[in-house]
């Protein structure tokens, strides 16, 4: 367990400095796919925060009490995929039954996250950097927060550029990718923070 100062630094570094989308290039698919409107982007961001935080906890437990115990940590990728997919399914069922409001709000985004590599990436990073379970969960939350920040900003920019007179060849995805690239450069500025 780290002390409070280190935890704050961890949150800042995961959310901003090594932003999951803009510097690690994980979770690009929903980043580009669900960023047309700020509203839906915020919904996706919320769902990702929810799932990654949960997934970090569950994969942390699985890693410590199953994989390490049987000495098969090299199987982490395969087991994590299994666990995350099942977890998302379960969360969907649970929400549908007990929290209909949240289920309706997250809606279609939940099943989409099953195949989001950012979730798996966080779980694997937690192992790679040797975080204990609680630190892993905080890292997961911060990483997902970074994703939410990035996708909401991109959606905001996309809503603005929609009305602009964009050259024919740049219309659609190209201008979005250029925008995302410029955002990534801007986020590089955070690297001086730590």
């Amino acid at each position: 367990m780290m002390d409070a100062k280190e935890l704050v630094l961890l949150v800042i570094s995961s959310a901003l400095v090594s932003n999951v989308v803009l510097s690690q290039f994980l979770g690009l698919c929903p980043f580009l796919g669900v960023s047309k409107k700020v509203e839906t982007a915020a919904g996706m961001g919320g769902a990702v925060i929810f799932v990654i935080t949960l997934a970090s906890a569950v994969t942390g437990v699985i890693y410590k009490f199953v994989l390490e115990k049987f000495n098969i940590t090299y199987l982490q990728t395969i087991v994590f995929i299994l666990v995350i997919a099942a977890l998302v399914q379960f969360v969907e069922m649970f929400l549908k039954k007990f929290m209909v409001g949240l289920y309706d709000a997250l809606g279609v985004y939940l099943p989409l996250i099953t195949t989001n590599c950012a979730v798996l990436g966080v779980a694997l990073n937690n192992v790679k950097y040797d975080y204990d379970i609680l630190t892993g969960v905080i890292n997961g939350f911060a990483t997902a927060l970074g994703f939410a920040i990035a996708i909401v900003i991109l959606a905001g920019i996309r809503e603005k550029i929609e009305d602009n007179d964009i050259p024919e060849v740049f219309k659609g995805m190209p201008i979005v990718l250029v925008t995302a690239g410029l955002m990534a450069i801007a986020f590089c500025g955070f690297s001086g923070l730590l």
Binding site: F70, N71, I72, A86, K97
Partner: protein
């Protein structure tokens, strides 16, 4: 060797555990869905256009299953879908009249005169911020930047020579374009009707004369000649009552500006 066996057993065990866990969870957390609702949802078009006023097709399906919405509440599916849903629900469908969207302007680039060239953002909504509400002399006409085109889920409305034109066959009367048009030019009209006033200008005759070749000047020739009394003039603009109109076409002939289509 034993390593392979341990690995296989552990991963298999995790898989089996998850399988059983999810299986139990699926039974425990089952949400009762009305079988009628699923059947109705299967019959709806599935465009999720929201033309019915509910949040997508599933919203309407739920409302129909509960009896809160009419079986033919889907404007897209029309009577054919209404009939099928009526069978599922075991009630008689009431006939609804098929409607289509109609753009009440035909002032295209050749017929409508412009005050100035506009080269700004191509969005109808933006034009409320420019002088005279757009480059056209007529303040009521179609701006031609296609907010309606963008809003149409069925690709049924297009900008042709600077003015929006509805493809009558592709239009499902969902009403999206009606809301999208900042000039309120689009109206849902009966599919069967044949006479429409294709102008929305409330300006007086001489002003319309200067601005557009095909604008309604409110001369009331159509009103005087209509055998069914189906036309009224309001704000220097002819209006046809589609319930009274028999489609005789006399108004089209009499209109000096050819503003009735």
């Amino acid at each position: 060797m034993s390593g392979i066996i341990t690995a296989t057993v552990v991963v298999a065990a995790v898989g089996v555990f998850i399988g059983i866990f999810l299986g139990i969870a699926a039974i425990k957390f089952r949400v009762e869905v009305d079988p009628k609702e699923e059947a109705v949802l299967g019959l709806l078009p599935g465009n999720n256009c929201g033309g019915c006023g509910f949040a997508g097709c599933s919203g309407l399906a739920a409302a129909i299953a509960k009896g809160e919405a009419a079986v033919n509440a889907c404007p897209v599916g029309g009577d054919s879908v209404g009939q099928k849903i009526a069978e599922v629900m075991g009630v008689e469908a009431t006939e609804t009249e098929k409607q289509v969207a109609f753009v009440k302007c035909q002032g295209d680039c050749d017929k409508a005169k412009v005050d100035y060239d506009y080269t700004g953002i191509e969005d109808c909504g933006m034009l409320s911020f420019v002088p005279n509400g757009g480059p056209k002399k007529c303040n009521y006409g179609c701006l031609g930047f296609g907010n309606c085109v963008k809003s149409c889920p069925f690709n049924a409305i297009h900008i042709v020579n600077g003015v929006a034109v509805v493809d009558k066959e592709a239009c499902k009367a969902c009403g999206k374009c009606v809301e999208a048009c900042p000039k309120n030019l689009i109206e849902l009209v009966p599919y069967k009707s044949t006479s429409f006033v294709a102008c929305s200008s409330k300006d007086k005759g001489p002003v319309v004369m200067k601005a557009c070749e095909v604008g309604c000047i409110g001369c009331s020739l159509c009103k005087k000649n209509c055998p069914e009394d189906a036309i009224v003039i309001e704000d220097f603009l002819a209006k046809i009552d589609y319930k009274k109109c028999t489609g005789c076409g006399i108004c089209k002939e009499k209109c000096p500006k050819k503003a009735i289509l």
